[in-house]
């Protein structure tokens, strides 16, 4: 946004009593998502070198699980102190990130050695989820919080898979994302924390959706013969849960916009959600990615909607190789869903007509 547009926006909001104090200098603002992504990747590279340093200088730390745990806990605690002591210093923040990541690896290595037998996956996964939840709350750094939310949610997903609730993972991850994202702007001083959680949960939900199917063998391969066995009914229930989450997201958005379900907009939204949700019964990655797409758009989050569009394409590519359904069934399902969506688009034009002279470039 240009300086002139920024000044004009500030003046407009001040006129409505929506801002207080002086217009902040542009330098006080935070970095765009791609700068944070660069910092996150570099943070991981730095963490690997720091881990290598610990291994080379203090070999006993890596050899003993107790020493690993103590060193990891100290590193994470140091990172929390660093983030709190100098929240605006770029070098210190990046150092804290690398130290914390190295500490997290040490902690997980230690805990991994303490579990054995059939409970190893669920035990370690639940421990990681708990550890990352704690770090999410304690470490006041945006990038670190996104990472903690993402990795913690993925660990919870692994635990659910190992407990036999594999079919419910996409729905649960997406529900967690929708629940937080729809309240993102209402949490006042916790807003920045919620936004970090939204990105972390969105990444985990997209991953759960894209990997649901053939690639999930990577996850299922970890399972022994323990956990719940819900069979075919469990798979159906999980997919119905994805449909329910998509419908819930649409209903909540309509409510947020003050629109009745029976209005033109309500009918378009519900029809689209039902078509895509029904397709998800056989192509289970569709409903979660669509739910993320519409909630991302509702919050004007272009990075999220862009990333999710690629996740949807990624899911369709993966779906081709999924062995749970024949190509013939998949083709019938996708073609039917495609035709139904195009029909819904035509219906939208009568249920929700465009404003006069308000549209160009459309059929």
């Amino acid at each position: 946004m240009s300086a002139t547009a920024r000044d004009a926006l500030w003046a407009k909001l001040r006129g409505q009593g929506l801002v207080e104090g002086e217009l902040p200098a542009p330098g006080e603002t935070r970095a765009p998502w791609f700068v944070r992504l660069m910092l996150g990747i570099a943070g991981w590279i730095g963490a690997f070198f720091l881990l290598g340093f610990v291994g080379a200088a203090f070999a006993f730390v890596l050899q003993s699980s107790a020493a690993s745990f103590v060193a990891g806990a100290c590193a994470c605690a140091a990172a929390v102190v660093i983030f709190r002591a100098a929240p605006r210093n770029d070098f210190i923040a990046q150092f804290g990130l690398a130290v914390s990541l190295a500490g997290q690896v040490l902690l997980v290595m230690a805990v991994g050695k303490w579990f054995s037998g059939p409970s190893v996956v669920v035990g370690v996964a639940l421990y990681i989820a708990l550890q990352q939840a704690l770090l999410f709350v304690l470490a006041p750094n945006y990038l670190h919080r996104v990472w903690a939310a993402w990795s913690g949610a993925l660990a919870a997903a692994y635990a659910l898979v190992d407990m036999g609730l594999y079919a419910f993972v996409p729905a649960l991850m997406t529900a967690a994302f929708v629940g937080v994202a729809l309240r993102e702007f209402d949490l006042a001083r916790y807003g920045a924390i919620a936004r970090a959680g939204v990105y972390g949960l969105a990444l985990a939900a997209m991953q759960a959706a894209v990997m649901h199917g053939g690639l999930s063998g990577v996850l299922i391969g970890l399972r022994g013969d323990h956990g719940l066995s819900l069979g075919e009914a469990g798979i159906w229930l999980g997919r119905l849960a994805s449909l329910a989450v998509l419908l819930w997201a649409v209903v909540e958005l309509l409510r947020r916009e003050g629109l009745a379900l029976s209005s033109g907009q309500g009918r378009v939204g519900l029809a689209g959600a039902l078509i895509l949700g029904a397709a998800s019964i056989k192509a289970p990655g569709v409903a979660p990615t669509v739910a993320i797409l519409i909630v991302g758009y509702a919050n004007t989050d272009r990075a999220l909607t862009g990333l999710d569009s690629f996740a949807l394409l990624g899911y369709l590519s993966h779906y081709y190789y999924s062995l749970q359904t024949t190509l013939l069934e998949k083709s019938a399902l996708l073609a039917a869903a495609g035709v139904a969506l195009l029909a819904a688009r035509l219906a939208m034009r009568s249920w929700w007509p465009a404003p006069k002279g308000g549209e160009t470039g459309h059929a």
Partner: protein
């Protein structure tokens, strides 16, 4: 460079927006989508998702190993939809959104038809030839569509064809086709596309000014030259030793183009990451990797370089709004 949404969220985090009134402020600023914006979004979503699902359904249908269908029936199933879609394009025109979506669908169906040709006549063609032929066949539609997403799909087909070409023939003629040659070709392809696209966009062609598409192409180009630089530094097999010099040239050109000419912080951020990776690899190669001091030094160096890079990028973003 920064969005209005980003500024409002910053102001909220800084306590400049009263507690609980952020949504009101976003609404007042016109950041949150209104009824018209929602309608446009749903219109596009239903159109493009419908087209992609329909196209994928057709491809899956033809990929099914049909024994009950004769050759002519199969070709009719592949060709009639293409003709029908082209009739829709003719009816709607390529300037309409639905016309562009129909051309995208026709392009997907053309791939399915080519796969069917290979499957039916057992042409003996390699997979890379399918993708190369697919790109060649749809080129006229890509040219007339004036649609950034279709150009990206076309470039993706070419990238896949190049990668598959070396994957297929690399083991056969390993002496002549090394991964380095594949990277050089991918680098040349994506860099040429980037230069041409940026050049044409700068002349004022509106539909080419889609930054997301240009960023994808820039990432592909930068990723390839970074890999070539690493290949050169690590001296895997026998390299041409052009990787590092060309990497320097790419970084310098990207800095000039995206700092002073076009101003895109996304590409600058990717460049910073490339500098960190290549510099660290070059130094690590010269150091004993079992030495604790060397590992600590490299860790701190990466942290320092990334923090400095992040600081500089934030300054550039702030300058844009100053």
């Amino acid at each position: 460079m920064k969005s209005m949404r980003g500024d409002l969220l910053d102001w909220s985090d800084q306590g400049r927006i009263p507690a609980g009134r952020l949504r009101e402020a976003l609404d007042a600023a016109g950041v949150l989508p209104g009824a018209d914006a929602w309608r446009r979004f749903l219109d596009r979503m239903l159109l493009f998702m419908g087209v992609v699902l329909l196209g994928a359904g057709m491809i899956f249908f033809l990929a099914y190993n049909w024994n009950d269908l004769g050759r002519y029936a199969k070709f009719a199933l592949a060709e009639v939809p293409i003709l029908a879609v082209l009739a829709v394009v003719w009816r709607l025109g390529v300037d309409s959104l639905a016309g562009k979506a129909a051309l995208l669908l026709a392009s997907l169906l053309a791939g399915a038809l080519l796969a069917l040709v290979g499957q039916t006549y057992q042409t003996g063609a390699d997979t890379f030839e399918l993708f190369a032929a697919w790109a060649a066949v749809i080129l006229p539609w890509v040219l007339v569509a004036r649609f950034a997403a279709l150009w990206i799909a076309w470039l993706a087909l070419l990238n896949v064809a190049v990668a598959l070409y070396f994957h297929t023939l690399g083991w056969l003629w390993g002496m002549f086709f090394s991964p380095e040659k594949m990277l050089w070709l991918l680098f040349a392809l994506n860099t040429a596309a980037l230069v041409a696209w940026e050049g044409l966009a700068a002349t004022g062609i509106e539909w080419l000014r889609e930054r997301w598409a240009l960023r994808l192409v820039a990432t592909a180009s930068g990723g390839a030259i970074t890999a070539l630089g690493l290949y050169d530094i690590l001296d895997w097999r026998e390299t041409s030793h052009w990787g590092v010099p060309l990497w320097f040239a790419w970084i310098a050109a990207a800095y000039y183009a995206y700092r002073h000419w076009l101003r895109d912080v996304f590409v600058l951020a990717a460049g910073v990451l490339s500098v960190i990776v290549v510099t660290t690899t070059a130094l690590a190669k010269q150091m004993p990797m079992r030495d604790a001091g060397a590992l600590l030094f490299l860790g701190l160096l990466v942290i320092g370089m990334s923090a400095a890079g992040g600081y500089w990028l934030k300054r550039v973003v702030a300058e844009e709004g100053a």
